[in-house]
Amino acid sequence: MSEEAKTPTVDEYLDPLATPCMQPGAMADIHTFPAAPEHQEKLGFPGELPENWEQVAVAKMGELLGKYRGFRVFLDSCVKCGACTDKCHYFMGTADPKNMPVARQDLLRSVYRRYYTFGGKYFPKLVGARDMTKDVLDEWYTYFHQCSQCRRCSVYCPYGIDTAEISMAAREIMDSVGVGQKYCNEILGKVYDIGNNLGLPPKALKMTLEDFEEDLEDETGLEIKMPLDVKGAEILLVTPSADFFAEPHIDGLFGYAKVFHAVGASWTLSSVASEAGNFGMFIGSYETMRNVSMRIRDAALELGVKRIIFGECGHAWRVAYSFLNTLAGPFDFLDPRYPFPQHICEYTWDLIQKGELKFDKSKNDEYRLTFHDSCNVARGASMGSKPGDQFEIPRNILKATCNHYFDMDEDTIKEVTVCCGGGGGILTDDLMDVRVKGASPRMTALGNLRKEKGVTHMAAICAICKSQFTKIMPKYDFEMDSILSVHQMVSNAIILEGAINEDDDDDDDIPGAPDVEAAE
């Protein structure tokens, strides 16, 4: 009977941001797989915990305090006002009080106080200061891997304390003593060795793209190219490697290719810069982030391109928009008439405004659509020319390509968007419990919209969001293919000159049709 009572009726509205009844220690047993020594060493970190690790960790913290002024300010300025406590999707989903942003920060702040403040050095108990012990380190590992660095809490903090910065610093300190996460660090090793998160070698990339060109030709009757390593191309497209592998990402890639085709653009992908994502940011390592970014610079110089456009990837866009120029710049060899960096949504929206792209919106009539703002685009970057364009441009594209568009609760979108639950290095099977629970605010908001407006699908512009939703949506009574790429909508609706009419085709496996599931 109690189970039945929990099931909401069809028209019942649920508060997506409801504060849970606290369950201390609910997520204390979560321990994401540790990186093997070889994964650590490839990135220049120790393979395992050194004997004097406590000193190394404390010294590393001191180094970061000296380098990053914001880090120290964030640690000093919290007044425990409580504004952040109920703003984290992981707290809302797990009810574990250590997933309150302030509690997460305090895991590190307490150690900072012990070694770097007067009060903590001499009266540790009075100021809540803790020694750097193995128990503390284990607690860090558990709870700093339940933060997706989405920065929603920082929007509500009156001092602007950014938990993501603290979480990145904690991971960097842990890496400095050989305690890294397998998911992030193994993947970064693949970028170093092969060039992308997937570990997709150039030969496989070439074959995959040829295969996709064949699919596009079957669908449209047109020779729509997916060029690779073309010297002298005008545009270098840097996109997440998931766009070559997973669904619905591939459908988005088809959309980019069709847009370029429609306007006769000269463009290329690169087997060197075959990854837009940059997990260096997730682990807080400037060096790693820089090494990954340099591949983009190297590819742009090698191919002699005039402009660089980024595909649908949230944290790639944050790194590109906010850091790339100082990380791997200057990019003065690019054509200054074009924005740098440029997002594929900016490119497409610009063409739509100029009237250079035409759409048959009825092709998307099977979708009643909403948009999930990805945290790194919403809060870590911008887009376009006006404040807030990072929210409006993707929505404008969807409204230009689809007849039925609706927004979710305003407390869960745009600047205060709730995370998909899989960002910041959490998108791994061994953290599935965290992922499912962390997605609950977003899924509740989407569920409300399904009840109110009959919304069937949600689009996003981030590879992590898309993969996360394909996996967790079935847990919330949505089909796994209810998540779409924004450029998938473009791909479905775009009118290409000379294309065959898809409606005459009885093939049930048309690229772009939402019947293909994720690569798991």
Binding site: A204, M207, F244, E247, C313, S467, V516, E517, E520
Partner: protein, 110 residues
């Protein structure tokens, strides 16, 4: 973390994927399949063999879309579908079929 087969120890990672794909044999595949609750049929072998051949050539597992397309050519339109793949490997063709084929798990934002 290892499988035992005919007195041989075969190392695997935290999730059961082989660390050295050179140690894969058909006998081992049968054990891996059993662990996954899968009874290997000709169709299962078709997928597993395709994955191994593809990996041998390209050093990575194929995208599901590529796999489906290839199977459509060899097994016909009905069986060469994503849906059919999921009936063979309910927890996902990439995840379960790769494991049984002895291939590493695909990584990244997928």
């Amino acid at each position: 973390m290892a499988y035992e087969l005919n007195g041989q120890t075969i190392e695997h990672d935290e999730e059961g994927y082989l660390t050295d794909l050179g140690q894969w044999t058909e006998d081992l595949a049968a054990i891996l399949a059993k662990d996954e609750g899968i009874e290997m049929t000709d169709e299962h072998w078709e997928v597993v063999n395709f994955l191994r051949e593809y990996y041998d050539e390209y050093q990575i597992a194929p995208a599901i879309r590529v796999l489906v397309k290839a199977l459509k050519k060899t097994m016909g339109k009905e069986k060469g579908s994503n849906k059919y793949l999921y009936t063979l490997f309910p927890y996902g063709p990439a995840k379960q079929a790769c494991k049984i084929a002895g291939l590493p798990k695909p990584t990244g934002c997928i």
